[in-house]
Amino acid sequence: MPRKTAALQRKIRILVAKPGLDGHDRGALVLARAFRDAGMEVIYSGLLPSPEQVAQMAVDEDVDVVALSLLNGAHMTTFPKVKKLLEKKGGEKIVVVGGGIIPEEDKPKLRRLGITGLYGPGSSFEEIVEHVRSRVSKERRKD
């Protein structure tokens, strides 16, 4: 298999993370299971890591994707912080997706920063998994 194809087909490594002061881990734990069943390698951050710790974990674990979940209303400060720290630590190629309780008007700003997905409660696994796959494959094609 040519190297490029192998790279494109490599299993997706994903860090499911809950940065900040938020213990609502139901969505994160369910999604971690859904990503696992979709054939991805899943790493879960555990609770209450700082944005700094999330970014460090993502770089150390060499993940393709960081999936952020927040339900406490602090996404507009926390999500961009993780993204920025990733860039600082050499993880600028890591795809960042997010979800939780995110008001419509906050979404364009997050998307402009490259944080996409932004799924709310009741979104389908299929849709979320597909979104992650398509962003990763786009990112890998860039190489």
Binding site: L21, G23, H24, A32, A34, L47, N72, G73, G120, F125
Partner: protein, 585 residues
Amino acid sequence: MLRGGEDPYWGKKARSVVEGRSRKGTLYDAKAIEQVREGLEQWERTVYKEWTDNRPEGADEVQTASGIHVKPLYTPADVSDADYSSQGFPGVYPFLRGIYPDMYRGRLWTMRMFSGFGTPEDTNRRLKMLLGHGETGLSIAFDMPTLYGYDCDHERAHGEVGRCGVNVSSLRDMEVIFRGIPLGEVSTSMTINAPATVLTAMYAGVAKKQGVPMSRLRGTVQADMLKEYIAQKEWAYPPEAHLRLVRDLMVFATKEMPLWNYISISGYHIREAGSSAVQELAFTLADGFGYVELGLEAGLRVEQFAPRLSFFFNSTMDFFEEIAKFRAARRIWATVLREKYGVKDKRSLHMRFHTQTSGASLTWQQPLNNIVRTAIEALAAVLGGTQSLHTNSYDEAWALPTEQAVEVALRTQQVIAEESGVPKVIDPLGGSYYVEWLTAQLEEEAYKYFERIDAAGGLLKAVKTGYLQREIAENSYRLSKRVEEGKDMVVGVNKYVKPEKEPIDTLKIDFRAQRAQTKRLAAVKRERDEAKVRAALAKLEKAFENDDSNAMYPMLDAVMRYATLGEVMGVGRKVWGSYKEPMLL
């Protein structure tokens, strides 16, 4: 149940409950039951079969939200083990039918709407509005920094101050929240856990300043740390340290604040985290037994503290299963307290509970539908005999509720109370073949769980190994998959979906609260007597280090001197360290 395991009671009890369901009861005549069975069999073979003949295979594979298989019809044959003594009368053991003799005829449930956001001034205004609309009890939500015990100026608090509740960093904030509200006249429920001791001390402090004696204070703090490790995950220290503080609170309040409900044993969060009704029932009651054992360890008699323990349940969809859950909870609590812990006093045996409709059942799609969901859930709580009720607002899948949405939620309760006719008769579903069967079924499954938790080494061990958390996570994944696969329907989510978004007005919270709170905190620190604060905190540290002392007294002293929430909690962080939960994947 709390520490250790292998208590023979649980295994024996689970077996006797199972066996009891197949014995012959006294409520129905054995010959009549035989006739019912024969009639039913004939009906299934002929009338039912003919009517449903061309239905697809598996159409009768119907289950409750907890996954309990249910038949199309229930008859006396399903409850033929019944003795009326196990149902009994309201206000009498085993309290299946209600804890008060007259239930809602005498007094309606307390309509208690949870609120709190932004600055203490914002919350003070919201509380006064609710009192003005006829609400009868206050209930306060705190923001994340407060729930975790950090001050508003801590770096971890950045962006979170006032977002999903009010921020309290020092006694001064509590003074503002309750400005103009006489604490001797109201009852206040504070949803606070890890810092529950600190907030209780602050409430007592505000009362002192208002000239109200501690002994007159009515209210509730949640202080249910076991469910924090199981579900809500807001802790500051390892479980043993938090349990010690809960013990101190029990002992302190028993003596000084006899009307204070110091633990609200909560199934709500266990359910919101994705558990089934069975798991909510079993884990919550197990926690309750854990606190009974904690009180006994502290040298209290059950009769001294059990009347101050209250419960807090979720009410979500699957109407009948929820009603059965509430009824089963009352009967289990009374039975185990009497059988295992030897309690005789009536007030210690009856389970009082608050109910909140389910936030997780609300959808962001077609948000007005949430009004209907909340109404159904509220009705289940009332039919289940709740003592107080919070109804969620339709916009809460989007953001904190607007005033209009809160008012509709409160009016929903008022319509049930004043117009539906439901409160007229006590436990009106008692005796329904289905509801009685389902009540017994949930009870049986709860007792089996008690046995498993005990076998896993008791509660403390079960949370430290992640057993209970994983049970919940697996169930929540099962539920999500059922929706994804179209086995469970949610209107507007996987059925009757509309493509367009419906914009609704939501409550906006900005950085105003963070700025205002940080400024006030700085002023508090400037104005207080620093040397006295340091001395009070040093005393508190000594108390934390000495397991045999009660930390509530030095804590009250420290907060009265305006030691901040973060400083008080910080002393504990220094003494006990923090806690990392086991891996839950």
